[in-house]
Symmetry: C2
Amino acid sequence: MPKIRFYPDNREVEVEKGENLLRAAMLAGVHVNASCGGSGTCGKCRVVVEEGDVEKQPTAKLSDDAIAKGYTLACTTKVLGDAEVRIPVESQMGDGRAALEREHRSVTHGSVLTSKDLSELFGEFELEPATRRLYVEMTAPNLEDNLSDLERLKRELTRVHGIVDFAVDLDCLKEMAVKLREADWKVTATLVEGRDGECPRLIRLDSGDHSATHYGLAVDIGTTSVYAEIIDLNTRESLGRVSDYNSQVSCGEDIISRIVYSLKKDGLTRLQGLVTDTINGLIKRLLEKTGVSKDDIVNMVAAGNTTMVHLFYGINPRYIREEPYIPTVNFAPTVEASNLGIDIAKGARVYCIPGRASYVGGDITSGLLASGVYKTDKVTLYIDVGTNGEMALGNSEWLLSCACSAGPAFEGGSVKYGMRAVKGAIETVRINPVTYEPMILTIGQTKAKGVCGSGLIDALAELFLTGIINEKGKFNIETGHPRIRENNGQGEYVLVWAEDSAVKEDIVITEADIDNLIRTKGAIYAGITTLLDSMGMPVEAIEQVLIAGGFGRYLELDQAITIGLLPEFPEEIVKYVGNGSLMGAHLVLLSQTARESAKDIAKKMTYLELSTNPSFMDNYVSALFLPHTNRDAFPGVMERVKERSGV
Amino acid sequence: MPKIRFYPDNREVEVEKGENLLRAAMLAGVHVNASCGGSGTCGKCRVVVEEGDVEKQPTAKLSDDAIAKGYTLACTTKVLGDAEVRIPVESQMGDGRAALEREHRSVTHGSVLTSKDLSELFGEFELEPATRRLYVEMTAPNLEDNLSDLERLKRELTRVHGIVDFAVDLDCLKEMAVKLREADWKVTATLVEGRDGECPRLIRLDSGDHSATHYGLAVDIGTTSVYAEIIDLNTRESLGRVSDYNSQVSCGEDIISRIVYSLKKDGLTRLQGLVTDTINGLIKRLLEKTGVSKDDIVNMVAAGNTTMVHLFYGINPRYIREEPYIPTVNFAPTVEASNLGIDIAKGARVYCIPGRASYVGGDITSGLLASGVYKTDKVTLYIDVGTNGEMALGNSEWLLSCACSAGPAFEGGSVKYGMRAVKGAIETVRINPVTYEPMILTIGQTKAKGVCGSGLIDALAELFLTGIINEKGKFNIETGHPRIRENNGQGEYVLVWAEDSAVKEDIVITEADIDNLIRTKGAIYAGITTLLDSMGMPVEAIEQVLIAGGFGRYLELDQAITIGLLPEFPEEIVKYVGNGSLMGAHLVLLSQTARESAKDIAKKMTYLELSTNPSFMDNYVSALFLPHTNRDAFPGVMERVKERSGV
Ligand code: FES
Ligand code: FES
């Protein structure tokens, strides 16, 4: 990989060929002003390539004179080979000493569960999906061999595929006679295997041989976001993945407000319709993207928290929010996709991975399955940094779980310019501790539209480390810096000026946003400590930390520790599982054994109700500081704060 | 029982107390003119009670003078004790010798399968319905005992009723949380047992204890008529029975025309809707009649021919009518009543008794079950004298079945004044061989609206015996009698003059009607002989004859033999099972063992396709005469004809 050396800081970093210089500087821990998210429009990220192999883009933001002197925009300049780059004073606005005195802090790729890790895990389960697509050729009936159509099909399925008996969907019978004859008695029968007391059922009949096109849909139904993935059930492969906000967000950002909404007249029906619309929208995009026919998607496995599953099924969730917090079901039945309005193959089924309790749902079961927690010896902390802050502690022997109602802040909810991690979202933020100028990168390096979870954690950590906010999250307005200002009696920091943003407004982080973020991180931290307390274990007992959640993969560990979201875990024990919930759904689509394992996990897990737990309340209040009221628990962070203050 | 002696015929008969004198005369085989069906409006049935205990009604049809002389209307005069009755010449219109020289021919009650016979049969099966209603009281959840609602219910059903596991209907989950709490955790769970690969399922939850109100609906879906009955599944009792025309009649009278209709645009949907409407109409009447709540009718068992089951389920019946006559299913799956639009308890199931082939359906299986054919040693002929003329020959060892497409004539279809056996239908007809005056009785003894099956068979037999029609069914118009006339070149006989009928028209039997009736009886006779032929058996090998069908109970054996509908069976081997199809449905509602027996019958039965059977065609053509081309097969009938001709 090419090596890039930055002057005057004299720091070097290795990057992929094709990476741009702004991101290289970010990885090297070198500050370069960058206001437009790396979209090449603010003209602030000027650097001089003194030596080496780079590919520059023409730009109107630089004068001919400057270009002649070797100036280029860092964000639009691609690395082709080794290079030496000088950051001029105007782009750095501070001296060398003020450069961020930190090692490269972005996610180490080795610590993420890669698709290779997963395929090892997935490979352990035999390919044994709940659905089967079986091709048969029958002889046409005559006066002597005059079995009914269904009996004829049954005879052939027994003879060729050993299927002894099965039930049939009424819808499948309605046009069976015509279908068999139009297909000249050559058809593919799609059967769903019986588990949980269900018998095998014929759910679909198709003309000709469709055994090679056998797909499933894995869905993660989050409170804020929904992810969907088409899985080839013959090859185990994911053919494509898409995501979107859960449209229910318009009826309330968190679980509690959704439940309240469901109690209104037609509220439940509306919420069900909204999530169905969201999923159908994702399906449509997936079909376009993959070229798969919807008639070949014959099974869907969903993972979601308990409230999401209730709302998806149209089950009244009312008592989930009233003490003692009882759901109607943890083990929801398999139902027909059409009964839920899901637009995949007629006859297709929907199964939801079982949960443990009202606030520890199938998404956690699914993640524990996908990440192998249910069979490891290591004491593992599994956290889903989603709206509900669900987590589990344990290993193959025992599992203790809880949910801390983190709120949607890290998913972009309840934050003024919060947004999901999609194109245009600020995902990385650095603030120069002297000049208070930010260095921001957006997803897709387009003009910024808002800030996603990792950007918010970054912003909070940077505002704290630079002393722009104090340990209570309040602004030090006296700096007199134009980016640090008061608005309607509330402090705020301008990440992107209106002229450089895609929304033509200043993109800011407000004191209210910071309050929300602190409450969110405090709840998660308190959840972790309460789980440990109730097992009588110290933080050090944790041998493995698995971080899941839609943005889990982009969460930077030291930033998360800086704000006190996580204890000071050694980097080497932390792994990112990405969307564990979706991965578990993928696994269950592939394997009935995995499905049984998910059931076992849900049955085995102990649930700790935090909302009535006094120890949790104490832990929570203590965690409403940056990084924490107990500074002794965060020696590394305090060290870093001291360094910065010494500037 | 009171004895009534009629003069001048000097014939005596025993009748029930409360019976009227017209019916007593009919039973005695004494002719009394009766034109208004016994409704007391024609004034023709004048008799003189010479001695004895009767209750007369006031009437304007008799002069004071006549009343003073002891005249009364036979049809409105009730028998209270023994009596001697003289029939005046004007009511008899013929001399004593002309009285019907026949023994009392109405159905011997001993030969009908009585409810006592049935309860013996029904008693053999343990009471073991597919549905169970189980009452449980649970403790409310708390933070320690925080199972989900469904798991809590499951725990209690296991503890109290030993139900280890069951699946759940989605609809049942939707409001479960609210229902349990409103019921203070005291509920009745309705479960349906799993057979045919289905597992037990929770289909319904009701507040409080409903275990005592557990009802099922037995339905016979005939091509022409539909019968429904509410059964108490705790006591085995029938609480009420009602019937109506199948509304599908408006789309065609027989199976073939229904199938043709189903191929039209929306035809199938319409046919399904019509039979559903018919059944729902019957349910409504039953609910009113019995006071049962529809929410307590948790199961329905239907028996019908194969086409009726296809149409009821909305299954395309197209290939039933095309050689080689293949249905989609003989063993139709259990479905939710709501999926078929049947308005009983939410969650209730519908099961259809399995059939054998396109033209031997679940109605025959059901009848063979109900009448015990499947376990008797006697070689039995079971005939359903319905639209499709289905029949079976056999015993516990073997069963051979066929269908002869009798047509709807005996159910009142394809006959000008044909109607179902309901109030106002002429059910008995005698014709004086000298005067050609009829003696008719209607159901309910109201003015006649038309003629039902037994009345049509009577009319055909009487017209033949009196020589009004010849053996080909053609009229001898030369009699010059006003009742025997030509209309548009077609002979007809006036049963009731317009002034005496409820429809204000002459009620007639036309030559076209007679053709239809002869074709119908010929088809049935040919079916019987073809079954015998194919077993190489003579008529005498039949040890038991069971006659089923909506009007089976009113069919008079010697009239049926007179027209050649049945061979000359000895009276003692013939039994009437009434609606065997409905009775089988009743049995299957009560017992899962009976349900298994029905399956065994359907599997065991051999099916003979008549439509392509050359022997059947020969037998049919030979049977298109009165009584038959082969007069030697009907020595008794020929004797009777000779007697009459000798008058
Ligand atoms: S032009 Fe490069 S960051 Fe704006
Ligand atoms: S009045 Fe008695 S039959 Fe008409």
